[in-house]
Every structure is written in C-alpha cells, then in structure tokens.
C-alpha cells in the first residue's frame, strides 16, 4: 500500500481539501456537546446504585438538577436533529440536489458498501487488497445512521416518558413500560458505540491517531484525503473539480482550539465509558 503514500505531493506545498462545511462542523459540535451532556446526566440514572452516580448527583444538586440538565440537552439535540432533517428535505427534495439520497456522496448505503465491508475485513486478515473508499466509507455511514436512528428512538421514548399522559392517548399502556427499556438500552448502545467504536474508528486508529481534525477544521491535507478517500480523490481529479475543493490551511490557533475541545470531549467520553463498563460489569 506504499503507493498510497502520496510521494508525488511531497515536494509541493501542502494543499488542503475541504471535506465539511462550517454548518456541518457546528452541527457536529452541537451534537457531541449535547450527546456528552445527555450521557453524563443519563448514565447516573441508569447506574443509580453506583458510588460515582450518587457523588455526581450530590455534586449537581440531586436528581431534580440532573433531570433538568438532561431535558435541556435533549431539547438542544432535538432542535439540531430537526434542523438536519429540514436540511435534507431542503437539499434533497425541494432543491433536488444530486448526491443526497444516492450516488457516491450520499449517506445512503449501496451495494459497494456491502462489498467494502467484506473486502475490508478480508484485508484485515490478509486475504485481499485494501478497498478504496468514497467520500463516506461504510463505517462512517453506519455511524451516521446509528446516530440518526438513535436520535429517533431515544428521542421518541424520552418524550414519551416526559409527556406520558399525552402519549397515552395513542400508545398502549405497556408501551409506557417499554419506552424506559428502549430509552435506556438504546442509549447504552449509543454510549458504548460512540465512546469505543467511533472514537477508535475515526480518531484513534493509526491512520488518524490521535485525532482526526477534519470535523473541527473542515479541511484535510491533500495527502490524507487521497489516502483515506481514494475514490473520491480520483473522481474529483478526473472531473477536474479538485481545485474547486481546495481550502485554506487551518490556522494554528484553530488547530490548537480544536485539539483542546476534541481532547476534552474524548476524555469525558472515555471517562464515561470506563464508569459505564465498571458499573455494567460490577453490578
């Protein structure tokens, strides 16, 4: 795979390719901030018997305070979700923008993703070459849909608990029992997934270690872009659109700020992961 090392650009000044728009970066910031907030205020409830849950609860002023913050972050995340859905409808349906629902730049899974999963895993164990990826690789699409589905499921079950008498108008009685199980299990899955799988796949794996800055700065070096999203790079080059995707190199202040924010987020996430795992296997 040494041909992917990008030796051709080594002598040139490093160029940066835009991957995320500012709106997408802010959306991710709102998403992970509210997700961390929801996890930090939801986990103590799930593991209410553990010492750390009680200590945290005492620290912030008991369950009343925890519930207030949980609902606060829930509303923030709900608004972000609605803005995102509106964006999809606007771009995909109203503006009929190409590449939203299908094609190489879409988040929707396609046949190539299925082949990629198999090929990638064959490469893991040395049975084939490493597949090349488009703008969104299959694990990135999974991340996206896991969060999308998670927000629908956790959000709905959360609001059903919050406004139980209202939801009882159209939900059967047993569903009011089920929403707590759904909310808590799906949230646990989301927390375990984000703080272990997403962190490793996106940030900690050797290709990105210690953190993939592209979601914070919006750009990645041409070399990295070519290495990670080879097919998109080739497609851009073939269509002569690469120049249009060029962005400015991120300022050092921007990188430093992003690193601080990112590492804090990862630190909180990993702390919550450890607490979750100790409580889960401790009880």
């Amino acid at each position: 795979m040494s041909d992917l090392a990008g030796t051709t650009t080594a002598n040139q000044a490093q160029r940066f390719i835009r991957r995320f728009t500012p709106a997408q970066r802010y959306m991710h910031a709102v998403l992970f901030t509210s997700f961390l907030g929801l996890a930090a205020t939801g986990l103590p409830l799930r593991f209410r018997e553990s010492m750390w849950a009680r200590a945290l609860s005492r620290l912030v002023g008991g369950f009343g305070a925890i519930l207030f913050m949980h609902k606060f972050f829930a509303i923030i995340l709900s608004i972000a979700f609605l803005i995102h859905v509106k964006e999809i409808i606007q771009r995909g349906i109203i503006n009929r923008e190409k590449g939203i629902f299908w094609g190489p730049t879409s988040m929707v899974a396609n046949w190539k993703d299925v082949k990629d999963v198999i090929a990638h895993m064959r490469w893991f164990i040395g049975l084939g070459p490493k597949p090349e990826f488009e703008r969104y690789a299959y694990w990135e699409k999974f991340d996206y849909w896991a969060v999308f589905w998670g927000m629908v499921v956790i959000g709905f079950s959360g609001y059903a608990m919050w406004f139980a008498p209202f939801f009882a108008h159209f939900l059967p009685g047993w569903a009011l029992n089920a929403v707590l199980v759904i909310h808590s299990e799906e949230a646990l899955l989301a927390i375990l997934f984000i703080f272990s799988i997403h962190f490793v796949n996106t940030h900690i794996r050797p290709d990105s270690f210690p953190m993939d800055m592209v979601i914070f700065t919006g750009v990645e070096s041409e070399e990295e872009f070519k290495h990670k999203r080879t097919l998109e790079y080739k497609r851009m080059q073939a269509a002569g659109k690469l120049e249009a995707r060029l962005g400015e190199a991120p300022g050092s202040y921007q990188v430093r700020f992003s690193k601080i924010v990112g590492f804090i987020a990862i630190f909180i996430g990993l702390t919550l992961l450890v607490l979750t795992l100790t409580s889960y296997f401790g009880s």
């Binding site: 090392a5 896991a146 008498p165 047993w174 029992n177 199980v181 799988i197």
Partner: protein
Amino acid sequence: MRTARNFLACSIALALAALVLLTASCVAKPPPDCLACHDDKTAQDSAGKSINVDGKLFHSSIHGSMGCSNCHADIKAFPHPDKIKPVDCKSCHADEAAGLVGSVHSNEAEHPCTSCHGDAHQIVPKTDPRSAVYPLNVPKTCGKCHGDNGMAEKHGLAKVFPKYIDSIHGYALDKEGLLVAANCQSCHGSHHILSRKDPLSPTNKINIPKTCGSCHAGIDAEYALGIHSKALAKGNTNAPVCTDCHTAHEILHPTDSEFRMQSTPICGSCHKEMLSTYHDTFHSQLGALGGYVETARCWDCHGAHDIRPTADPLSPVNPANLIATCGKCHSGANASFVKYQPHANAYNRTLSPGLYFVRLFMNILLISVLSFFMLHTILWLVRARYNQIKHKDQNGGK
C-alpha cells in the same frame, strides 16, 4: 362592750395563730436534731460518702411534711449506727411496688426507686417541672441508662435516647415542649415495664397498634380495616404493625424525604418481588439519586394504613380507582395511561409480554452491533499498525 368584743376577737386570732404555729412546728418540720448534723454540706459517713440532706429542698419536696423516721424507721435513737437499712419505699407506695414485680426493672438493688425519681430527699410530684419523671424530663431520665453514655453498652441495652430525641416525638417534646408528645413511658409504661417479647407488654408486636392508637386513634381505626391488621389478627406475626414501617424510636415525619427513602425497602423486606420490579421503574429510579423523592412510593398508590387487596373496590389500586390514584400525580391520566405496569418485569413473558420482547430485541441489537464492531475494530487496529511498521505505510500525512 366594744373593748370586750375586740378582746375576744384578738384572743381567738392569737389562739388560731398559735395553733397554726404549733402544728407547723410539730408536723412540717423533721426533728431539728437530724438536720443539725445532716444539713451540713460536708457531712460524710465513715466511708467518705456524703450524708448531706438539703433541709430547704427537703421541705419543699413532696415528702417535706414527713419526719425522717417515717422512712428511716430503723433509726430510734441518737447517735444512730453507721449502717442503716435502705429505705423501703413500697411500705407506702404499694401500688408502684406491685407494678415493679416482674418488670424489667424489678431488681431493687440495680434499679432503686431513686434511679428514676432522683434524690429521695428532693422528690417533687410528677406534675412539677422539676421532677425527673415530669413528662418533658422522662426521656432524659431514661436516657441516663438507655443513652449513649456507655451505660447502655455496658449492660447490653439499646441506645435509644439519641434516636428518640431526633424523632418526631422527641422533637415535639424537646423542641416544642408539648406535654402530649409521646415520651418513653407513654408506650412502655412506668413501673410495670415489660420486655417487648412479653405478650402483655404494650410494646409487644400484637399490642403495638393499640399502644400507638391510644394517641393516634384515627390511624388505629384505619389500620384495623387493612389487610395487615387482619393478617395480624389471624396470628400472622410477620404482618407489619406501626413500628415496622415507622420504626419505634426514630420515627420521622412521613413526608420527610428520609422517611420516603427508607420505608420502601421496609415494605420490600416482605414484598421482595414487588420491590425488585419497582426498582426497575421510573418511580424508583428518580428517587435513587436523592433530592427527588416525590415520585410514587408504595403507600402513595397502595394506601398506608388501610392497605387492601387489589380486588377490594376500596383499594386505590383497584382497576376502577386507578385513574384517580395515578391522577394524584399525573394530571391527565386516562384509561390507557393507567395500563402502565408499575411492577412490570421485562424478564417475565407472561406478565409483561410486550415489554419482554422489546427488552429481548434491544439486548440482541446491543450485543450484535457491539460484537461485530468490536471484532471489526480490533482486527482493523492490528492490521493498520502492522502495515505502518512492516510496509512503512504512512498514516495519510499525519
């Protein structure tokens, strides 16, 4: 005539005055010769023990009108022997003495009357605020032995005084000065205190409702209608009485958050399955983290004193009453809302089938997603690191 009448009046008055003085000197005063020695504050016997009697306090005591020899009957002459017999209170106080027979304090040597009533020469009526057995002083008096000053430990007694004094009864007595507040003897009696194991004791489990009911009559009447009272009457001594939920000495106000937190596990000590399923629900989870105890506890739904079986139309958890019961907290509760199972069990397919399958699906989803990606990620990590080292595969310009 006038002078004669005056003279007669004066004579009568003088005679009356003399009579009063004479009576007073004969009856109200002990023979002055006892106090001549014993009123001396430094008076000691040969063993160095004080034998002082404060004459002033003695006169104002309930026994102040009596002569010394009324109690110290063995002293006939002066000087009297160094060793005199202990005073036998029961020679006058026969009823109290009869009460003490068979009581936990029956051993006269260990529990002389003075251990509760105080210095024999200063005893005042129990209605006098100075009395050691004045209602407001009773807990302190009993607490001398049943407190935390080491006495209780030494004799294997319960250290109840600190618990009592912080309880709702102790607060009413000590802080609000209420004579009607229950003190030790309101429940335990005074002279005829029996072990709670004795079926005749007012603190024996069987008798507790009656004992508490002597003040809390309304609650006792309610309790009598409930399933616990009926079980007790049938001889099931596991059925709870007042003290099982409220405790005996540390009784808290039932709206206290501490009480709301501590009493649910008490119900659960018998109703184990119900407590376990309750713990799985939102009602319980909200309270577990403190500072939020408004959510339903057992008695908020089931009633407290007159708990009835669900089938009883008067039970608040009878299906016909659920909308009203749930509606106490959940305004807008409707027929579908009250189908919520406050004791649902996600692992019980027959009791909660919907919940059972939802839980099963969620568990399978969680395990399969995490297992697949765990394997995927570990293999990927190993392979990517291997490529970096073996093939000098760069990490994309990093």
